[in-house]
């Protein structure tokens, strides 16, 4: 990341951006309901399974509970990917890299290692999201917006656990070297 000071930080400023995101969330609440993204995984999975193993898909309660690809949920996560794509293509300044620098400093250049880790991490995250019935967006953001205690509770614990994990994994590197 080749930025040096505030003036050239490629990211948007946090306050206006949070207004923008809040606007989108309120729009979603008005037009659909509480947004979720981990359910989108199930939605995609359901579509896939209905195609390759319709009987299995029909036998599982969890797939019954979540709408398939022809739904708002799937459109939403697909839209997120498209949004990410558009944003990535329209900004040359936010770097896109397969292996984050902080990871490279800690575990080396190996892509395989990183991919394996993100696969495993993704696995954990989604399993946990389903267990909790939501993720950062579906439970923390949507839940807290509806003043749900479970959303606040989930939010506090995921931040704490993530901070602890990051500290255990990257803490020493961050202390020794300049990580930006």
């Amino acid at each position: 990341m080749e930025y040096k000071d505030k003036a050239t930080i490629p990211y948007w400023k946090w306050i206006p951006t949070s207004f923008a995101l809040a606007g989108i969330i309120v729009f979603i609440f008005a037009t659909y309901g509480p947004p979720a993204s981990s359910s989108g995984f199930v939605s995609a999975l359901k579509g896939f399974l209905e195609w390759v193993a319709p009987e299995y898909a029909a036998s599982k309660a969890h797939y019954k509970a979540i709408p398939g690809p022809g739904s708002w949920l799937f459109a939403f996560v697909l839209g997120m990917a498209i949004g990410g794509f558009i944003a990535g293509r329209t900004s040359s300044r936010i770097p896109v890299r397969d292996v984050p620098p902080i990871w490279r400093k800690r575990f080396g250049k190996s892509r395989v290692k990183r991919y394996a880790a993100t696969f495993f991490g993704g696995f954990l995250i989604l399993f946990a999201s389903r267990l909790a019935g939501g993720c950062t967006l579906g439970l923390f953001i949507s839940g807290s917006t509806q003043l749900a205690i479970s959303g606040l509770y989930f939010g506090v614990v995921i931040f704490a656990a993530a901070m602890l994990t990051a500290r255990l994994i990257f803490g020493k590197i961050a202390e020794k070297e300049e990580i930006q």
């Binding site: 990341m1 930025y3 040096k4 505030k6 949070s18 995101l21 809040a22 609440f29 509480p34 981990s38 199930v42 999975l45 969890h62 739904s71 799937f74 459109a75 939403f76 996560v77 839209g79 997120m80 498209i82 949004g83 990410g84 944003a87 990535g88 896109v96 902080i102 990871w103 993100t118 696969f119 991490g121 993704g122 696995f123 954990l124 995250i125 989604l126 999201s129 909790a132 019935g133 939501g134 993720c135 950062t136 953001i141 917006t145 003043l147 749900a148 205690i149 479970s150 509770y153 931040f159 993530a162 990051a166 255990l168 990257f170 961050a174 202390e175 070297e177 300049e178 990580i179 930006q180």
Partner: protein, 909 residues
């Protein structure tokens, strides 16, 4: 179909925005988790706060829907931990995975696939896991509305809470980052908004490390101090955030703002209790710890006072929350802690700031120097490789790398960073230059004399760091005030309780009165009264070129009764000047000077320099002498214009039986002046009388000090006659002449023996014992290291008027402190009897808490403004350093109850 389009549109907008904030960048997410980048967590939290308000609006107009979140407390907790581990490891969460994959990040694509696998596994075992998801607590259904009983109030609490949370994250993350930065090495590449500050800091450290020798200054003490400052700052900000809901829920505040109906809800006292508990244990920790430390040492002071007040308030209020009838003191408790934390933070930071500024100076030293090799070529080497005796080349406009002596060349040097004097100083061969000052118009060669820790700047830094360790008397003053207030608090509390019980009131009422009294006795403003003054006076002093090594001594300067100056180099310039030229023959005065200057132009003796200077001053052209020769210990001789010219001492005349009888010469010698005879062909044609030149500033300094009621004395090794003439010239109260170096301390003892508080001002190594003996030792100028080591205060400039500035600033500082302590405690002194209910039996008057709160805030504001007003004596101080025309101003501004000041005004008028 519409739903799909809406979903797609929402998704695109969502994905776009989270990419732009950087949430799809796993690297940035990891930095957020490491508390190195606050933006994403702040962004999330604020977005939730705003969304909650938006959704509240939607609900109000009946649009949109909410959805229960069916899950159990166990499953959510477990899931959150697993989720967090995955999040910390990858830096992705489900939403960002989609956007990041769309962006083209391959690791996100793998996270997505892994996620699908995880979801599939869960779906497969869903039935098995259902018992785990069963929720007897019905957690998923409980909202803040259920807790607060009112949707609007709950939304407000969440929005305000999250809003402050977002702000607090910025504070916490940033300060943590700085702490980390403190421990880190050089920063080669700069950083983000926050890390740009860090890069400056660590960059400087990196540069210092390249100095090698300077890095030693980052001692444990400094680090410890920095951590203390960071700790107080963190506690202050966190407590402040936690205090907001306490204030919002305080009935008194609600009533005042007229928001009682909207804000109050059943059970709000429990919420207040929760926040107050956090403030009490987290914010109050330093005070609770301080209370025990002080009690252990048997020295109850500030910490005891605060500790007693907060413990009383907390314990009593908690008891009230859980059933004891009475009122709670939560907001008083919280604001007291917050203001006390602020005071401690300011005080520590101001002390840190002084050395921070000096550290900046060390940073200014260049890291490389052009060293001259034996062949005369210049090679660039790191400053750390220079050794004593090396010769370095300093080009025009460059910074002088180390302390040294000019070996070749003549230039003007800008020493403003060292002395504060903005005019460049002319320097030529043989004169000393200080590392860090800026070379003027021409190239010079400097012989290195000091490197590393021995350099002037390093010494100054070290010195100030030591001063930080010395406990300030200012603190003692506040501690003394606090000690009495503690006694008052406890006894007034006890008396109140006893009195009410005695007159037969119920215990609960008496207890409430007692607690009110004890809480009220600890003035909020007391926490700021002294720290703010210290902060202002420290920065004022530094700005005036007064380096305070020992604050206790500095604060003692207000009661100085006598100041003893070392003569040479302090009151006088330490160089000879021609006072008079006495004719003994037909030659004119100018001719005598011309011949003498010609001869002496080849001599380095101070007397010779004085004569040559006189010739230059009078613009007398003198020829170059031939066959110059020094007559050891007695003078010099040379051939000028073909004549044999000699400049000699009386001893030479005696030896050669040359007798001179002249009244003027006798008079000059009686006055202690040095007389040089000028002989042409062994015949005396005239004599030159010289004396140590009295500084112009000395006269001003002495007269003004005397006006302030301070006796001014002089100490010198010179003859009685010399001392007397200088003393008379300056109008000194007393002088000590012919004092041997080892007797100087005895002279100070004698002055002390007269019952006077005495300061010694000196610059030489031989002054050091006297500086140590005096109540206050002041080293003047860029004096010798030993003198500086021993002194309590160092004057950056060689100006005796700065001594005056010390006394004035010290008096002004003390006055402000006392004033502030009165302002701080005054309200409480009045309020205690009212709070105790003295007027109750007669008029049924108890101090309304609202009135108490307003007056208390007012006294805090007054204390802050009053401390700032100390800045106004700056004009007065600069008067000490530059001109007399500020007199009128200064007297107007700082005049107060001090008798001396009153006298001064009378005299001035």
């Amino acid at each position: 179909m519409t739903q799909i389009w809406l979903g797609l549109f929402s998704g695109i907008a969502f994905g776009f925005v989270i990419q732009r904030i950087g949430a799809t960048d796993a690297h940035r997410m990891a930095r957020s988790h490491l508390m190195l980048d606050a933006d994403i967590p702040r962004f999330m939290v604020l977005a939730v706060a705003l969304s909650a308000v938006g959704v509240f609006g939607l609900q109000a107009v009946g649009v949109g829907r909410t959805m229960p979140l069916p899950t159990s407390i166990v499953a959510t907790g477990l899931a959150a931990v697993i989720f967090g581990i995955g999040w910390g490891l990858t830096g992705y969460c489900p939403g960002t995975t989609w956007a990041a994959a769309g962006e083209g990040r391959m690791d996100a694509v793998f996270a997505l696939i892994g996620g699908l696998a995880g979801a599939a596994l869960f779906a497969h075992f869903h039935e098995t896991l259902i018992p785990l998801l069963y929720d007897p607590t019905n957690l998923g259904q409980i909202t803040l509305t259920d807790l607060f009983g009112n949707y609007a109030a709950a939304t407000a609490v969440l929005a305000v809470g999250f809003g402050f949370c977002a702000w607090g994250i910025g504070k916490l993350w940033a300060s943590n980052e700085r702490v980390v930065a403190f421990e880190r090495g050089p920063d080669p590449g700069g950083g983000s908004s926050k890390s740009s500050k860090k890069s400056k800091k660590s960059g400087s450290k990196g540069q210092k490390a390249s100095h090698g020798d300077h890095s030693g200054h980052d001692g444990d003490h400094q680090d410890h101090h920095a951590h203390m400052v960071a700790d107080f700052r963190r506690r202050f900000w966190v407590s402040l955030v936690l205090t907001v809901p306490i204030l919002a829920l305080a009935p008194l505040i609600q009533k005042t703002l007229g928001i009682q109906k909207t804000m109050a809800f059943p059970g709000d006292s429990y919420v207040q209790f929760a926040f107050a508990t956090a403030v009490f244990f987290y914010g109050g920790r330093p005070f609770l710890k301080g209370l025990f430390d002080e009690l252990k040492k048997g020295e109850p002071g500030m910490m005891t006072l605060i500790g007693v007040a907060v413990i009383t308030a907390y314990v009593y209020s908690s008891a009230v929350v859980f059933g004891l009838p009475g009122k709670v003191f939560f907001w008083e408790l919280a604001t007291l802690i917050v203001i006390m934390l602020l005071g401690h933070w300011i005080e520590m930071r101001s002390v840190m700031g002084a050395s921070g500024a000096l550290k900046e100076l060390v940073k200014l030293l260049p890291s490389e120097a052009h060293r001259l090799t034996e062949s005369g070529d210049a090679e660039d080497v790191p400053v750390s490789e220079l050794t004593k005796g090396d010769k370095v080349l300093v080009k025009p406009g460059e910074k002088i790398p180390v302390d040294g002596e000019i070996a070749e060349g003549h230039t003007s040097v800008d020493e403003s960073m060292v002395t504060g004097e903005s005019t460049p100083v002319e320097k030529s061969e043989g004169e000393e230059v200080i590392g860090g000052s800026v070379n003027g118009e021409s190239t010079i060669t400097v012989t290195v004399q000091k490197t590393g820790d021995d350099t002037y700047l390093s010494q100054v830094v070290k010195m100030v760091e030591e001063a930080q360790a010395s406990k300030s008397k200012a603190q003692n003053l506040a501690d003394r005030a606090a000690f009495w207030l503690t006694i008052i608090a406890i006894s007034a509390g006890a008396i109140t309780l006893a009195a009410w019980l005695f007159v037969g009131r119920e215990f609960v009422f008496s207890l409430e009165r007692m607690v009110t009294v004890m809480v009220i006795t600890c003035p909020h403003a007391l926490g700021l009264a002294v720290p703010l003054v210290v902060a202002v006076s420290t920065s004022l002093a530094a700005g005036q070129g007064l380096l305070i090594r020992n604050r206790t001594a500095f604060e003692g300067a207000r009661s100085l009764e006598a100041i003893v100056f070392d003569k040479t180099g302090t009151l006088t310039e330490g160089r000879f000047g021609v006072d008079s030229v006495i004719r003994l023959g037909d030659e004119s005065e100018d001719e005598i000077i011309r011949l003498a200057a010609s001869l002496e132009s080849h001599s380095e003796h101070p007397i010779a320099r004085g004569i040559v200077e006189k010739a230059n001053e009078k613009e007398i052209d003198y020829p170059d002498p031939k066959d110059f020769e020094a007559i050891s210990g007695k003078g010099a001789q040379a051939s000028v214009d073909g004549k044999s010219v000699k400049a000699v001492s009386p001893g030479y005349l005696k030896e050669n039986d040359i007798s001179v009888e002249d009244d003027d010469i006798r008079k000059a010698r009686d006055e202690g002046k040095t007389v040089v005879y000028v002989l042409v062909d062994e015949k005396p044609i005239g004599a030159v009388a010289l004396s140590d030149v009295v500084r112009k500033e000395s006269r001003d300094a002495v007269s003004r000090l005397k006006k302030m009621g301070v006796q001014v004395m002089m100490l010198t090794g010179d003859a009685e006659a010399v001392a007397k003439s200088v003393a008379d010239e300056l109008g000194l109260d007393d002088y000590f002449a012919e004092v041997l170096p080892d007797e100087k301390a005895d002279a100070i003892k004698e002055v002390k023996g007269r019952g006077l508080t005495v300061a010694m001002v000196g610059d030489g190594i031989n002054d050091a014992p006297a500086l140590a003996e005096a109540d206050i030792g002041v080293a003047i100028g860029a004096g010798t290291d030993v003198a500086i080591e021993t002194a309590d205060i160092v004057l950056v400039r060689s100006d005796p008027r700065d001594v005056l500035a010390i006394v004035e600033l010290s008096r002004a500082t003390y006055r402000k402190m006392v004033q502030n302590l009165w302002w701080a405690a005054g309200y409480n002194i009045v309020a205690i009897p009212l709070a105790a209910g003295v007027l109750y039996p007669v008029w049924h008057y108890l101090l309304p808490p609202a009135v108490g709160a307003v007056v208390m805030s007012l006294s805090t504001v007054i204390v802050a403004i009053n401390a700032k007003l100390l800045g106004r004596v700056e004009d007065d101080l600069s008067g000490g350093g530059s001109s007399e025309d500020n007199d009128a101003n200064s007297e107007e501004e700082t005049a107060s109850s001090d008798e001396e000041r009153a006298n001064q005004e009378k005299e001035a008028a």
